[in-house]
Amino acid sequence: MIRANVLCCAGTGCTSSRSAEVYDSFVKYIEQYGLKDEINVVKTGCFGLCQKGPIVAVYPDKVFYCHVQPENVERIVSEHLLKGRKVEELELSDEDLQTGEKILDIDKIKFYEKQQRIALRNCGKINPEDINEYIAMRGYEALGTALTSMTPQEVIDVIKASGLRGRGGAGFPTGVKWQFQKDQPGDEKYVICNADEGDPGAFMDRSILEGDPNAIIEGMAIMAYAVGAHQGYIYCRAEYPIAVKRLNIAIGQAKELGLLGKNIFDSGFDFDLEVRLGAGAFVCGEETALIASIEGKRGMPMPKPPFPAVSGVWGKPTSINNVETLANVAQIVLNGAEWYSSIGTETSKGTKVFALGGKIKNTGLVEIPMGTTLREIIYEIGGGCPNNKAFKAVQTGGPSGGCLTEAQLDTPIDYENLVAAGSMMGSGGMIVLDEDNCMVDVARFYLEFIVDESCGKCTPCRVGTKRLLEMLTKITKGEGTLEMLDEMEQLCYEIKDTALCGLGQTAPNPVLSTLKYFRDEYIAHIVDKKCPAGVCKDLLSYSIDPEKCKKCSMCAKACPVGAISGVPGKEPFVIDPEKCIKCGSCLATCRFGAVIRK
């Protein structure tokens, strides 16, 4: 009889830090210690705290081990699982700021305390490759209820009343979208799950697909019933191999149980689902381009209208919803619209998942109720910037979003507030920048991404973003002029007004928001020819202070291009600016602070 569960994270983050070997070791040692019949080892989805991975949780003791390496496993098995002594130094812990005491209770750990998990409710709790575990967590009950005791219109009314809005970024009310499609004539309709997550730094959709694929299948089946569709597609990028594999396993198991296919729950409703793979083009997250890609055409957007709800895939009415939106659907049907709309702010209901990354201590996935402030996410959940560096900005919404500064940190997060502050919700990437990040360089990075990803169909996006990038590059090289700033700004507005699809219309946002809040950094690059953060290489110079130099020769050994010369113990070392590639190795190596970067 099973008396304990060992849950090993098998999400992408932990897998890349050897969690698969950790799992194998648990299986091996549990067998070796004769505990095979009493302890169950389970692979789960993402726990969210990717920074501390690989994570292993032991239930019912509710102990979370972090940074578990295969060589730690025998100890956990022999100490904790056999003898009941927790291996405390591997336990996830926080320090109580007032008393300095160690906090081990997972519900009191800062990272989890402020979170409310609806979309991520099963991630890190169930085995995503076993549909029974999803069913144990009340899985497919919402679908059964909808099919057997609700009309399609009633389902739409519940979703409308819940206030759920699209989590892909734009925030269109989900129920309204479904209603448009339902009201279209004809009986051939389609539903699509947009799993083409492409923002740099965003990985919440991947984690949901990997950790709880059945939630998406159930959400899509409910959506299909509501709008009158019988075929669905999940459009996922081939770059997400674990997600694709688990989706296919889940679809297979659902079909076996009759939860997909003909006459589901004996209600006469048929629904089938297929995973379609994309090649990972950013523009294919745009719905008309995504539809083109599903149809086997080149992924390029079309002018709207007609909207997909009128004419979508194969020219038929189609609803497209994002992964996270769909992960909320079954919960709303199960717990009611009132429950859902009691969470969040006036205009934005429910929770939002953010992928925290960049210069932050607790990199990972967090799900918070709408209305939480950026400060709470970054400082209380995220733990602030590492190494005591000063916070500079937070970038939300990926290449379509913008940067927000210290002054906006107390903004409660919802769709409207973020737009008013000059950024956007986006799909939920949240990248924290500290004093070592150059904002001009950040804008240049996003523009470079956009130039790569622009499909080239419309001129404003194809040519306009390229011109923007050229100007930004010049500024980072110290070749910019003040007139360029005005030219850039004007070009940004022109692109916004004239580009064909969402990609182009939002592409100038990183430039506009950095120009607005960090104009001084642009001016420093142009007028003083300096990069205040010390990032733009062309504006840097390295030298050695002969007074401080101990003539130890360490810098010369570290220099990869032989640009540093001197006589050990006799003459101070000197950097040849002609040869120097400004890599910073000497600065990192010198223990006496003799290397100066200007």
Binding site: M1, I2, R3, A4, N5, L7, E38, N40, Y59, P60, D61, K62, L82, K83, G84, R85, K86, K125, I126, N132, E133, I135, A136, M137, R138, Y140, E141, G144, T145, T148, L257, G258, L259, F265, D266
Partner: protein, 124 residues
């Protein structure tokens, strides 16, 4: 699967596998499983507790802990109630374990004769 009823049946079967991850039981039954406990016979006690709990569906989780310092009284079983109550049973064997589950977890009655206080009182 053709009805909500079928789904419910499946769910009940599946629930056994995952319910310990949810917590929320009325009692936590803890067995001391350090070297002293194991030497004194805590393993058969733990096995019995786990078996009985599964079989009779007692409202508790069975888990283990290390040495609590009274090695001479091992095997020790502690029962923690949701209300904050805490009872320590000593010199437990498989039969006593069954009785503890039956009386304490099942009916909410502490088995006085096995508690540390009464055992020590008898020794004096």
């Amino acid at each position: 699967m053709k009805s909500l009823e079928d789904l419910k049946k499946m769910r009940e079967l599946a629930l056994k596998k995952v319910e310990m991850r949810e917590g929320g039981k009325d009692y936590r039954v803890v067995v001391g499983m350090a070297t002293c406990g194991i030497a004194a016979g805590a393993r058969p006690v733990l096995n019995k507790l786990v078996e009985e709990t599964a079989e009779k569906d007692y409202n508790c989780v069975v888990t283990q802990t290390g040495c609590i310092g009274m090695c001479v009284y091992e095997p020790i079983v502690e029962v923690y109630g949701k209300d904050g109550s805490h009872t320590t049973y000593v010199h437990v064997d498989a039969d006593k374990a069954v009785k503890i589950l039956e009386e304490h977890v099942g009916k909410g009655k502490v088995v006085e004769e096995y508690t540390v206080d009464s055992v020590r009182a008898r020794e004096v």
